[in-house]
């Protein structure tokens, strides 16, 4: 058990390093001079020089790389050009909104998706099964921001049941604000998880040990929940990981539609305003979130699959 965990932790370090290098390189190969692009064409030469000085752009690349890495380790991500606030502070403010959206969306998505999948698998080729398949087909196709816009139009604009924008203050108000965007993401996740549950269950139904369970006299209910679903958890865990990551990236667009002050809005805003430090910070946060989610899924995997926990 420890061995597998240790290896996963040990793998995470180079991954983070590689990600940071990718981000560092990405920011440095922007077409044109970053200072010019940031300050605009009519910027005065000394302004450009001050900007380069501030961002150390005129130092040798490896020097910039070390400062960059040093900064990340000491949580000093530099200051935002436009809002002259430390990037870290802006990120810290925005992060909770993204996290809560992802968690609520995942919760709703899984609690709808898994039962739907079980329903479809156990009543194969009958109404619920084709219903779930249609639902997942649509779910796979609808772009998240489009669904968000539709829900926004009907529930917020026309019916006025939900706020039109903002993240809300205080627990209940934030929950009130997060619900509609979470439902948007949860709809797509339920479709994905539903289909995945259905396919993994159907695959498990074909396995020999399910037949053994029946031969022992277990009734269908026990066969499904005690044996089949328990084994379907393995592929489901991978599916959950993929869907968590998909929600993270989906949240960017949905935050824009619902005007939520999350990391997504921050990042997209920074990109359009060419605010380097914030872009860099935003991408780093997303990258670290991805690595964290992957680690989380590996831990879940150990809990679910004894073969990883216990050596032969």
């Amino acid at each position: 058990m420890g061995h597998f965990l240790l290896r996963r932790l040990f793998d995470a370090v180079p991954t983070v390093l590689l990600v940071l290098t990718l981000v560092f390189a990405a920011m440095r190969i922007l077409p044109g001079d970053p200072a010019l692009a940031a300050l605009g064409d009519n910027a005065l030469p000394e302004q450009l020089a001050a900007f380069r000085e501030q961002f150390g752009l005129n130092q040798p690349l490896w020097r910039q790389y070390l400062d960059f890495l040093g900064g990340v380790l000491t949580f000093d991500l530099g200051r935002s050009l436009l809002h002259s606030r430390p990037v870290l502070e802006m990120l810290a403010h925005a992060l909770p909104f993204t996290i809560e959206l992802t968690i609520v969306a995942t919760f709703i998505g899984v609690t709808i998706g898994v039962p739907l999948g079980v329903l479809a698998a156990t009543r194969r080729n009958r109404l619920p099964d084709s219903g779930v398949r249609l639902f997942s087909l649509v779910g796979y196709a609808v772009p998240d921001f489009y669904l968000g816009a539709l829900l926004l139009i009907t529930f917020s604009l026309n019916l006025g049941l939900f706020p039109i924008s903002g993240g809300g203050e205080g627990f209940w108000d934030r929950m009130y604000h997060v619900l509609l965007p979470a439902i948007t993401l949860a709809f797509l996740k339920a479709a994905f998880i539903g289909k995945l549950t259905r396919t993994s269950l159907l695959e498990v139904f074909g396995k020999d040990y399910v037949r053994t369970a029946r031969a022992k006299g277990a009734r269908e209910g026990r066969v499904i929940y005690r044996h089949a679903l328990r084994n379907a958890l393995l592929p489901l865990t991978t599916g959950l990981g993929i869907s968590l990551l998909a929600t993270l990236s989906g949240s960017v667009a949905v935050e824009l539609v619902f005007n939520r002050p999350g990391i997504g809005t921050l990042l997209i805003g920074a990109i359009s305003e060419r605010d380097y430090a914030v872009i860099q910070g935003g991408i780093i946060v997303f990258a670290l979130l991805v690595v964290f989610v992957n680690l989380l899924i590996d831990l879940l995997y150990i809990a679910v699959d004894p073969r990883l926990r216990v050596q032969a």
Binding site: T15, L18, V19, L22, V23, A25, A26, M27, I29, L30, P31, L137, V138, Y140, A141, V142, P143, D144, F145, Y146, L147, A149, L150, L152, I153, L157, R198, T199, L202, E203, G206, K207, D208, R211, I242, L245, A246, L248, S249, G250, V252, A253, L256, V257, L267, I268, I271, S272, I279, I283, F286, A287, V290, V291, N294
Partner: protein, 293 residues
């Protein structure tokens, strides 16, 4: 059913491939609908200049944010441009990117996958390491990072989307290659003195083609959706070029006035992506029966 056919201790003679195709397509109305929709979509995209009522870029200050009318079936956007024409030209964008990006990704990804899977050793470890890293990133995030670096624009999006898909093709190709390489008929080829290159061409590629083609069809759907998302985020097709994504983006700030541009463009994306997903499932059932759920 699979357990039962095994249990039959015997292989019933397999129906010819044509029979499967006919059976799968004919008795699935959804597939016929999907194929028709794709054909319509392709027709619109190719004949865009002929059927679009107005020039998609023509602005007019007097007709800003008009709701649908006989003159403008979907109304106009904040620059007075005809939304319907922009949608028609936008389909061109989606089609080309939707087909091009997965194609480019398939070629690069499959080559990497086959090389890693067939030769193994250090090449395999390096490629797999990179693929595992990139695959852990959702496509959209990867696309955003690269788009942020490269900026928008048609060819950049193709590169962005292709780069986002390459890891998936590489991983599928590698897994399939290793599976085929372990088959006795490849060992038989080695024993018959067939050179490695010819083994790849004659045995590996034909036997991994099916899952790759299925992946390409499914990725066409994702490419169209991702292009729309990127354009919506302002990282894809740059204004004033029309794309379904940025039509929705523009339409958002005129939701009060007329939600129709958003609803129209959204519907277009959803139906085309749905059609390609359906097509992908059907192709999988025909080409790769074992893996169909």
């Amino acid at each position: 059913m699979s357990a039962v056919t095994e249990r039959l201790d015997l292989l019933a003679p397999e129906p010819s491939r044509l029979a499967i195709v006919r059976m799968v397509i004919l008795n699935r109305p959804s597939t016929i609908a999907a194929v028709c929709l794709i054909l319509v979509f392709v027709a619109i995209a190719t004949a865009a200049p002929l059927i679009a009522p107005y020039d998609p870029l023509a602005q007019s200050y007097i007709k800003i944010n008009q709701s649908p009318s006989w003159e403008h079936w979907l109304g106009t956007d904040q620059f007075g441009r005809d939304v319907l024409s922009r949608m028609i030209y936008g389909s061109r964008n989606s089609l080309i990117i939707g087909v091009l990006a997965p194609l480019v990704a398939a070629i690069i990804g499959t080559t990497l996958g086959v090389v890693a899977g067939f030769f193994g050793g250090i090449i395999d470890r390096v490629i797999s390491r990179l693929v595992d890293l990139l695959i852990s990133f959702p496509e959209l995030l990867l696309a955003i990072i690269i788009a942020a670096a490269l900026g928008g624009g048609f060819w950049n999006i193709v590169i962005v989307l292709a780069a986002a898909f390459v890891p998936n093709f590489a991983r599928v190709a590698r897994a399939q290659t290793m599976a085929v390489r372990a088959e006795p008929y490849v060992e038989a080829a080695v024993a018959s003195g067939v050179t490695q290159l010819r083994i790849i061409m004659r045995h590996i590629i034909p036997n991994i083609a099916a899952p790759i083609v299925v992946l390409m069809t499914l990725w066409t759907a994702s490419a169209i959706r991702l292009e729309a998302s990127l354009s919506f985020l302002g990282l894809g097709t740059q204004a004033p070029q029309p794309s379904w994504g940025n039509i929705i983006r523009d339409g958002l700030n005129n939701l009060f006035g007329s939600p129709w541009p958003v609803i129209g463009a959204g519907l277009a994306i959803t139906s085309v992506v749905l059609a390609f997903n359906l097509l992908g499932d059907t192709i999988r059932d025909v080409l790769d029966p074992e893996t169909s759920p």
